[in-house]
């Protein structure tokens, strides 16, 4: 007699084979009961997730085909007009471009920097626990608070940044930071790096610590230089962690809102606007809810295309063995 629920089952095609079926009807009833028990445990999560996550996304899809001010039900069906408008909207196209810019900057600068710091702090070096804690600390601050802080630090002329630069004779490097269309994205990226590189560093550190020391030692014995050890032993073994970190970084760039909203609200003249900010402007400030829904759907589409492509081409191998255990990571 097995229990009604199977201990330690692995994921796989549904119900595992059962021993000796009793009479057919009793078996069917027992299976139904088993299914109902399993689903009973799922029910609260399903309701919460269905109503507050899936339903809104579906509704945005529906509303994006209407011209709608957001009151009553949408009735002015306009077909794909919102989407054609979207593709001709310079601000939205700029959003996409700025998103790409942040992704490229993150992958080219922020993540390699985080990796370098992780490798550095993975050695026995004095004070490494303090540095780790310090580098990660900004991650626990709210983006809104971080934004207000750096908005003041980079205040043109009177902020700390300009003062420090002029004190060390580099005043020419200072400028208007967030207030200048040509530097606003770079400044934003600087703040994002300050806030988030420690998070990626922590991921890498966890990955590095799961690499057996014997492997790098063996490479050393074989005469590999430090760079060769890093390139041919450490990096390949770190690949799963790197792939997840890249994924999280890209998703973060796609949905960026808080920081931008607090510091620049997308300005000057849309030069730091993101998709989420544009959506917010249309949906909550101008009451063009149908059009704002189309922007939401576009954001969803961008995430979806990215997630599927990434999963298809990059992540597949990792997810196969993913979500199995977490004890090794020091829960």
């Amino acid at each position: 007699m097995t229990s009604t629920y199977l201990p330690g089952t692995r994921p796989g095609p549904d119900a595992a084979p059962r021993p000796l079926p009793p009479a057919g009807r009793a078996r069917t009833r027992r299976r139904l009961l088993h299914w109902l028990t399993a689903m009973g445990f799922q029910l609260p999560a399903l309701v919460l997730f269905g109503v507050l996550v899936l339903l809104p996304i579906l509704f945005a899809l529906y509303a994006s085909f209407f011209r709608w001010g957001g009151f009553g039900m949408p009735s002015d069906y306009t077909g794909a007009d919102n989407f054609t408008r979207l593709l001709q909207d310079d601000v939205f196209l700029g959003d996409l471009w700025r998103c790409l810019l942040l992704v490229v900057l993150s992958l080219a600068l922020q993540l390699p920097f985080a990796l370098a710091m992780a490798v550095l702090l993975n050695q026995r070096i004095r004070g490494r626990a303090v540095y780790r804690m310090l580098f990660f600390a900004p991650y626990v601050l709210s983006e809104a608070i971080t934004g207000v802080l750096f908005g003041m630090i980079f205040a043109p002329d009177e902020g700390l940044a300009d003062h420090l630069l002029s004190d060390i004779g580099l005043g020419a490097l200072g400028g208007k930071w967030f207030a200048d269309p040509s530097t606003v994205m770079a400044t934003l990226f600087l703040v994002m790096t300050w806030k988030y590189f420690g998070f990626h560093m922590m991921l890498y550190l966890a990955g590095l610590q799961s690499i057996p020391a014997e492997l790098t030692e063996a490479a050393t014995v074989d005469g590999a230089s430090p760079w060769q050890r890093f390139r041919h032993v450490t990096l390949p073994l770190l690949a799963p962690t790197l792939r997840i970190s890249v994924f999280l970084s890209v998703i973060g760039s796609i949905q960026l809102f808080d920081l931008v909203w607090v510091v620049t609200a997308g300005g000057p003249d849309h030069h730091s606007e993101t998709m989420a900010v544009t959506m917010f402007q249309y949906g909550f400030k101008r009451y063009q809810v149908g059009y704002a829904s189309a922007i939401s759907v576009a954001m969803f589409g961008v995430s979806l295309v990215f997630a599927l492509a990434y999963q298809r081409f990059v992540l597949r191998r990792d997810l196969a063995g993913a979500t199995t255990n977490m004890r090794g990571d020091g829960a």
Partner: protein, 277 residues
């Protein structure tokens, strides 16, 4: 290799760490020091130590009920979100980890897909939904969606943990007449305490720092949370820079204090969620 040679060899590395460390600390330290100045001193003497340490910025904020109101709201919302998301996720994760049932993989995929989609996508329709449910300016309007969006990560982490618990234990419990819920409640949950701690810490931090949702839901200052309050305060006292700095510092203290207490769970949870999710 003796110690001093090693020190010489690692000197550049230390230099790098000190510089990066300084870049991390200076903004925070600057805010802290600026809070002890008056705004006129701050524009005269932006970089140095305060000429005389003025505490009125800090005490003024701490003495006002408004600040404590924000702290109370943020705490209430964070605790309620955490209890809800952990309870609901634990039930679902238990079912995913210990039952074989038709549709399990599809369902699990639906939840994991939730990880991939930014909250911003759902923000607008969610707002409309909350409005129609009359949940605006109601803490539930923030608590429920936060819990819903926290489900994927929490379920994934807990499912992984629940699957580690040996099957024999469950068989023994079943033989002793333990039903599924009794096993879940009396045996599994107490054993999973470390994992529950980890996901709770993650949920608290996420809720505490949430800005977008409270911004949408709360127009009434009565319910503002810390991030919304900070933004409003800056708008209101934009010219009194020193005061805003003091406010920022005080707003950061709870999060940093929580981090220093729960660092292990937080980092463990994030790395587990990310490397296993």
């Amino acid at each position: 290799m003796n110690g001093s040679r090693k020190t010489v060899r690692t000197l550049p590395l230390h230099l790098v760490l000190v510089v990066v460390g300084a870049l991390m600390v200076v903004p925070l330290l600057y805010a802290l020091l600026s809070g002890f100045k008056t705004t006129s001193e701050l524009s005269r003497n932006p970089v140095g130590l305060p000429e005389s340490w003025i505490t009125s910025n800090y005490t003024g904020i701490l003495g006002s009920g408004a600040f404590w109101r924000l702290v109370g709201n943020s705490t209430l919302i964070a605790v309620a979100t955490t209890v809800l998301v952990v309870a609901v996720s634990a039930l679902a994760a238990f079912s995913f980890a210990r039952f074989a049932f038709r549709g399990r993989e599809v369902l699990f995929t639906v939840f994991t897909m939730g990880l991939m989609f930014p909250f911003a996508v759902a923000a607008l329709p969610l707002f409309l939904l909350l409005r129609s449910m009359d949940l605006l300016d109601n803490p539930l309007g923030v608590i429920l969606p936060q819990a819903a969006f926290g489900l994927p990560m929490t379920i994934i982490i807990l499912r992984g943990f629940f699957r580690e618990i040996p099957g024999e234990l469950e068989e023994a419990a079943t033989l002793d007449g333990c039903g599924p819920f009794a096993f879940f409640w009396r045996i599994l949950l107490p054993m999973a305490r470390p994992a529950l701690g980890t996901v709770s810490v993650l949920a608290v931090v996420t809720s505490w720092n949430n800005f977008f949702l409270p911004l949408l839901v709360f127009t009434d200052p009565k319910w503002w949370t810390i991030p919304v309050g900070v933004q409003q305060f800056q708008g209101q006292y934009a010219t009194d820079t020193a005061r805003v700095f003091a406010y920022l510092v005080l707003a950061m203290v709870p999060a940093l204090a929580f981090y220093s207490v729960a660092e292990r769970q937080l980092v463990g949870g994030l790395t587990a969620g990310a490397t296993k999710g």
